[in-house]
Symmetry: D2
Subunit: 344 residues, 4 copies
């Protein structure tokens, strides 16, 4: 059994790792840290886990403690905290690390521009959306084969929506109009997450300057070099989970829906977690699962294609993809512990 530790296990990403790993046949969670909850039973905090993890309690462990206990560490900490932890963990242990924060996703220069302060540990991690990159090969070739930067939720939905077209090199202009469930904003109650403010509403935010834009541009330009004509406007919808990305894609040439479907079918062949659907995808059909469902409709008249993609922001957009990446790191089958349908 792979021994796993979760640093920052009290938030949504940590909770979701615990939920998913509870039934992973090759992993045992041996440590879950939380300063605030130290001493409490896991299932007394995350009550959906009653019956699981009967002996596991939240602990306030040092890095030293955790690295001796674990084969793999998931960092589910706030952005900015990972770069304080990773160097020591990598250098003083054999642990593999999957970092769910934003710290190692961007090239250092882009990180500093986007976040407005220097990066404390400018080492490169492997940024891993396994349906877009050959993660196993990239790890092999990396200077840091034990460090994966797990992608952001919006960039996962957005990149999967346009990757096949980007790879074909035909993007001219892309506007991502994304709609996310409110769990994306974390489990601390806020004005936006206050039920009377969100029910029967939809809340656009960071209309022109969300930090995930840099990540989208970086990843899409790896597929279509030189392309940077990307806009991104996120919204919060009255839903707990899920990201629906509506990608308004303008291309250099005209396409029919059939053309585009062929490009996507080929690109996503043998990628079990990406499923092309007739019509439009539904957040409910991917809920709780690691799937990404994609719908395609071309508007030849305007050289426009509307791609819609649906993921669960906490699974394919965070903890599920982290486990998928862990599976790859350890040479397990990519789908292990993740092969179950969404919960409509």
């Amino acid at each position: 059994m792979i021994k796993a530790g979760i640093i920052g296990a009290s938030g949504y990403a940590g909770e979701e790792l615990l939920r998913l790993l509870a039934t992973h046949p090759s992993v045992e969670v041996v440590a879950a840290t939380s300063r605030n909850l130290a001493g409490k039973k896991i299932s007394s905090v995350h009550t959906n886990l009653a019956g699981f993890y009967n002996k596991l309690i939240f602990e306030n462990l040092s890095n030293d403690d955790i690295k001796t206990l674990c084969d793999v560490i998931f960092l589910a900490v706030p952005h900015g905290a990972s770069m304080d932890i990773v160097p020591e963990l990598l250098e003083k242990s054999k642990c593999k690390i999957v970092d769910l924060s934003a710290d190692y996703r961007l090239k250092t220069a882009e990180f500093e521009k986007t976040y407005g302060h220097p990066h404390k540990d400018p080492r490169e991690a492997v940024y891993a959306i396994p349906e877009v990159h050959d993660v196993a090969a990239e790890l092999k070739n990396s200077k840091n084969p034990r460090l994966i930067a797990n992608p952001g939720c919006f960039p996962t939905g957005a990149t999967l929506a346009v990757a096949p077209l980007a790879k074909t090199g035909v993007l001219e202009n892309v506007i991502f109009d994304s709609k996310s469930g409110i769990t994306g904003a974390g489990n601390t109650p806020t004005e936006t997450s206050h039920f009377p403010n969100l029910t029967e509403n939809i809340i656009p935010y960071k209309l022109t300057a969300h930090r995930h834009l840099a990540e989208m541009k970086q990843e899409i330009s790896r597929l279509q070099p030189g392309f940077s004509n990307v806009c991104f406007t996120p919204h919060v919808i009255p839903a707990a989970r899920g990201i629906m990305t509506t990608a308004h894609v303008f291309t250099k040439e005209k396409y029919t829906t059939k053309d585009v479907k062929e490009i996507y079918s080929e690109f996503y062949e043998n990628k079990p977690f990406v499923q092309l659907v007739d019509g439009v995808p539904s957040l409910l059909n991917v809920r709780g699962s690691n799937f990404c469902h994609i719908g395609i409709e071309a508007e030849a008249a305007n050289n426009r294609i509307v791609i819609t993609s649906a993921i669960d922001n906490l699974v394919k957009g965070a903890s599920g993809q982290a486990i998928q990446n862990m599976n790859i790191m350890f040479g397990l089958k990519e789908t292990e512990g993740l092969w179950f349908p969404g919960l409509p």
Copy 2:
């Protein structure tokens, strides 16, 4: 024009008073106090009021200031704060007061038992559900004809549900299983109001010991002296507004649905805000309005009657009823400024 002041205008009850008074033909709001928001324009905080109250700003007024400006003062302050303010306002001005807090609702002894601390101002106010009591007459006979204790939201829905049967003296046992929108808990974000915790859920709370129980018992026993066999369990539903009260009523004798409907029709004759409906009421049909809709179904076999009542907790359960009571205090038509339908 009646000059009105609202003390505590930043919360839901205050916001709702501002919404309702914006179109009241006989009232002008001249003061709205809030310590935190002092200096801000009303409509910059309560954006639904953009276009209204163009000159009104939140102020941090002293009692002295406010009592010289106003003919009527609405107290929309946290429970416990009114009893610090009322004595001075009553004694040093001619202002009329409608207190939306719980401070003057219970007889002093019952208050102290329920809230666990002494009452600072044990004077009696007129507790006013106008469909149950003759408020004008009670004010006339009161030692404190300028002080109205505006009822709580749950007690309003519960009392209206059973008053006609209580008046008939036939109650044996009543269980109020009430379901409230989350605005009843105020506008500060909490774990319970956090969207992911409430959506697709229903949250029972204070199962056996909610403070409103004392208020229910007091009012129902005024109608059926000696009766105290009342249980109350509230729930929060995934809705912003509204209280659905399911009253499980056991009676001394058997009734048919028709019998009960006659009792209610007679009791609520000439009470424009109470409407008996076929089948069951809907929170949507009373939303935003001062109406209470009531449905009736008897189960003769068990000497049981199920009464369902629907109100908007912020209107009939708080600010609307406060204005209705103000209308009565000033000799206006009870419905003035409040006669519009619910918003489904």
Copy 3:
């Protein structure tokens, strides 16, 4: 009192006309037709109206009957039905007509292209968004001064979002990504309106070919002649009411947010129902009201401006705007019967 009739009073638009006209000081509803509901009391069907319209019942009236009873007729019938009724009503009576259907919105040629069949009555009506056009003047100059084509819900939100920029002539490319409450789809239960399919979801539909696109293009090109670079993708959100339009606007030149706000302030001066808000608008702040709230944010780097507009689809997007237009037709104050805040 203006005597009003509503043809098709059983649907959402009809219901909303009844709700709004219940408190209009200058209008009395004298007829409400519905074939299916004929004989039923209005308030037994639209229970939110209990206490109003105590004598009004749904009737199955002929055009002859209705035109002798009414000064104004609201057509709240399915698209395609108005053109069967309008000619006779106009020619054989003095009635004024506000048509809420799509029949008279488009120029005849465009109508036939969009709807795929001939128009039975190719007369021109006055298409009336009063904040964009001088409706009174247009009526005066029209050959059909008694016929108003009331705009569609999506086109109202979209046109108000970009009209000031279009008038300035600077649009280069506009993508409307619109999000509507499900009442826009009518009150017949469908797969899309089935609660388990919509809750916690957002459903994109007619991604490239919604019929309202033609209406948007027609109206925007009246402001910026020759401009037709408009894309439109609607979504249904888990909400009953409201349309949030996210307009991704690409302009010929760069603008700052401040620049754009000045253009909008000037354009919408003296238009009481359009309010510019800081940040982004909220569907809740306009709910139940005739307001349109607009937020503005420019992204100078990309020559892009994101305009967000919020309306209630059943009020400003249908019945409220119809009454606003009726007010103008009859020389009443535009805001009469409509001047109340939204219900958050």
Copy 4:
């Protein structure tokens, strides 16, 4: 592998069986029938299953066909249809049957009284809530050891809520005030399931005469012989899944919360799917899972105990419990294929 067939696989119960069995290690679904959907791929209808059941299509199979294919048959047909199918399946094959309909739940006399028509096949099945009855033993002793009557959703939540007290023989009066997600009403769109009617609402229905009452009475009186003082009022809440039962229990003697918790702990020892929680349970914590969470609070003053239980109506209230019962029938571990946490 156990070969399973699902008759009536297009409804919610059938869909949920397919979802759950997709990952059951000992079961292969070999047939799924639906008259309307015959010929369609499973995953084209239940899109959450994209990636699963790649070869399975809906078929319009005869009973003859299905009984030769299957070791176990799940009947997910409308009430009244099972009794037409069961006799032939039992008598002409070796198939085991789990009937999810109401047909075999009640003793024949009670069935006829409740449903108002004769029962076509008055044989006794084993009614199986495995936490309340020893299902394996009952099957062994039954004349019909191959037929399980799977309990109704409300009776499951209600019976689990009070079984330990009933077993102790102390019930005096029980009122079940139950709140269900709308999937309980099936997947055909109706007025009640129409999103604008249910959002921000709660709908009481069948206030005194729901058919599940007979089932509750039958099962509770098996535990406390002679007891029939049970009332039941269901509500629909704006949620897709879940049943929250608020059981207002009046007992012959006084209990403290601690007393009651001990009774429940003992009763549910070694019942992995029932978990006692601190405070109140949450529908979200059991969503998608086979768990029942129970909260307990006693009000000694009134001899009242409020028990709250939460289940997923489609899992523990239907398909999950059906699989649990199938596991028992085949001598598998009760939790096989069902041991995963809820999805909050």
